[in-house]
């Protein structure tokens, strides 16, 4: 069941579009904001609310990389793996994060604190390598330049 709060937030966007279906990406975002991810049950509820079949909605949901169809940790760390960051040490950053968190990209730490995911270019190429944690952009993260910097950032997300 969607909560009344979730339903209200979804319906607040309804006036922007001529069809119910057009609401679906923002509706999935509303659910994810409240629950961290979009479960099968939540997907069915959103589909029913918007007059879509669950399969149709899942076809949309699984297309977009920022719709999480599996549970994620309390914090989601998105490290950029695109070309400018790659040149500036994104692989070192990835290895450092994997080692510190004890997970591979796509994984969630056993304490449920972090999910680590690659992401395409964050538009911060002049401060590469870059990473985004829960919507906060962090810049100039080459561990070869400042190994403690990444660790200090992770500390800020308990």
């Amino acid at each position: 069941m969607l909560t009344s709060e979730e339903r209200a937030e979804i319906e607040a966007e309804a006036g922007h579009y001529p069809t119910r279906k057009a609401l679906c990406i923002e509706a999935l975002e509303v659910v994810q904001r409240h629950r961290g991810w979009v479960s099968d049950d939540a997907l069915r509820d959103v589909a029913a609310l918007l007059g879509m079949t669950p399969d149709e909605l899942d076809g949309v949901a699984t297309f977009y990389n920022l719709v999480f169809r599996k549970p994620v940790g309390r914090h989601v760390a998105l490290f950029c793996d695109s070309v400018s960051c790659w040149i500036m040490g994104a692989n070192r950053l990835r290895e450092h994060l994997c080692q510190r968190l004890g997970v591979a990209p796509g994984g969630t730490t056993s304490d449920g604190r972090f999910t680590l995911l690659p992401v395409v270019c964050l538009g911060a190429c002049d401060h590469a390598p870059a990473m985004m944690v829960d919507g906060d952009l962090h810049l100039d993260l080459d561990p070869a330049v400042d190994p403690a910097k990444v660790d200090a950032i992770l500390e800020r997300y308990p």
């Binding site: 069809t19 297309f63 719709v67 070309v83 002049d126």
Partner: protein, 423 residues
């Protein structure tokens, strides 16, 4: 001192100006002028300015506007979309405009909307641009409160609603027909063209889609005139350009410079290469442009001159390749991106780009075979323009085809030595 209309009001590290400050700093002059003109005259002024699409294609903006059918018997509502889905690897120009001066974009959207008599506007923003979203929401609220949006804009009788749409990822959303599908609540697959979006776009209605930087130029064209705007740039390429440099240069960054600035001048702005490194080439306008080399330092970076050198201006944000970075590894990274972001609709793209990535991974692992280079060359032709619905695949093979030309020895060394010489 050259003029920098796009960034003049942007103060690094500070909050953007509010509506009162924006107006004091010269904002809204363009909108006031536009609303006193006929919509057709606004379009004509933009066409006359030679403003060209800053999303990368360089299409004449005013000409695109003129394709939107207006008049009493044409379909409504008409839509305007600002493409703020900046996701081209190496591009970081629109973020500055969105975060630094959101009212400039809104003013540009209202003028564009007026010119094509749009009823509803969407600002399509990628989810990761969280600071931009926060500032845009505030600016949109100020614009409604100040009478720049909604009914009877500044007493002109023109009405425009503007909605911020925050996307959920995927590079394909930046492709204009993929963006339309996404706004309709679908997978962001491209649509066949024609019909083009100005004729049949969102929900089949006329829809104008412009890039953020394009729209941000519009208020200045109206405020200062087409002639002034043309004089800022190079022939048939009016205005300034937000140019960027990333990679191992001394000072990576973003600068607003006259359109037509050369590759060498831009590299100088970035302080040149870091000590001990040599410039081997660059992708002048993001990941989906062909390499330029040190033979091209004199090339003027505009939509006509870069193609003469075998590449494209693209987004104007240059990615520099140095001599300690492996070009084959760089291509592996690029083709991984394009293969991952392929939406899966067209066979040359979903099949071919993964194939390219696998071959490049093999080359990097020392498992390349001599015939691999012929396969890669075949793929650059297989994914050429006209074989797929959208420009993702042709863009994906641009850096590949030029790397095979300029860095051939490096590819061959990987195969001959059965290893990556840079590791």
């Amino acid at each position: 001192m050259a003029e920098t209309p796009l960034t003049a009001r942007i103060r690094p590290g500070a909050e953007p100006l509010d509506l009162a400050g924006y107006e004091r700093a010269g904002g809204l002059e363009g909108l006031h002028k536009a609303l006193q003109m006929t919509p057709a005259a606004v379009t004509a002024a933009v066409k006359d300015s030679t403003l060209r699409g800053r999303g990368g294609a360089g299409f004449l903006t005013g000409l695109k506007w003129s394709f939107v059918p207006t008049g009493p018997t044409t379909p409504r509502p008409r839509y305007l979309v600002a493409n703020a889905d900046e996701m081209e690897p190496g591009s970081f120009k629109d973020r500055l405009l969105l975060e630094g001066d959101p009212l400039q974009l809104i003013e540009g959207m209202v003028i564009a909307g007026y010119a094509v008599q749009a009823d509803v506007a969407f600002l399509f923003l990628r989810r990761e641009y969280t600071l931009a979203a926060e500032r845009l929401r505030r600016a949109i609220a100020q614009a409604y409160a100040g009478g720049l949006l909604g009914r009877d804009i500044l007493g002109s009788g023109y009405a425009l609603e503007l909605h911020l749409h925050v996307s959920a990822g995927r590079y394909m959303c930046g492709e204009e027909t993929g963006l339309l599908n996404s706004l309709e609540g679908r997978r962001a697959n491209p649509r066949t063209k024609p019909p083009f979006p100005p004729v049949a776009g969102l929900w089949g209605k006329p829809t104008l889609i412009n890039n953020v930087e394009t729209l941000c130029n519009v208020p200045h064209v109206l405020a200062r005139g087409a002639e002034w705007f043309r004089a800022l740039g190079s022939p048939r390429n009016g205005g300034t350009k937000l140019y960027g440099v990333s990679g191992k240069v001394k000072r990576p960054g973003l600068w607003e410079l006259p359109m037509g600035t050369t590759v060498g001048e831009l590299l100088d702005r970035a302080g040149g290469m870091r000590d001990g490194l040599r410039f081997r080439g660059c992708l002048p306008g993001g990941a989906s442009t062909d390499f330029l080399t040190d033979a091209h330092l004199g090339v003027h970076l505009d939509f006509d001159e870069v193609p003469k050198a075998g590449s494209r201006l693209g987004t104007g944000t240059m990615i520099v390749l140095d001599d300690r970075t492996c070009p084959v590894g760089m291509l592996e990274n690029l083709e991984h991106f394009f293969a991952q972001e392929s939406c899966g609709l067209c066979t040359p793209c979903w099949s071919g780009l993964h194939w390219c990535e696998r071959i490049l991974t093999a080359l990097e692992a020392g498992e390349g075979r001599p015939q691999d280079l012929q396969v890669l060359e075949f793929q650059t032709r297989f994914n050429a323009p006209g074989h797929t619905f959208c420009a993702l695949a042709p863009g994906a093979v641009e850096p590949l085809q030029s790397a095979l030309k300029y860095y051939r020895d490096d590819f061959e060394r990987h195969i001959r030595e059965r290893r990556c010489p840079w590791r």
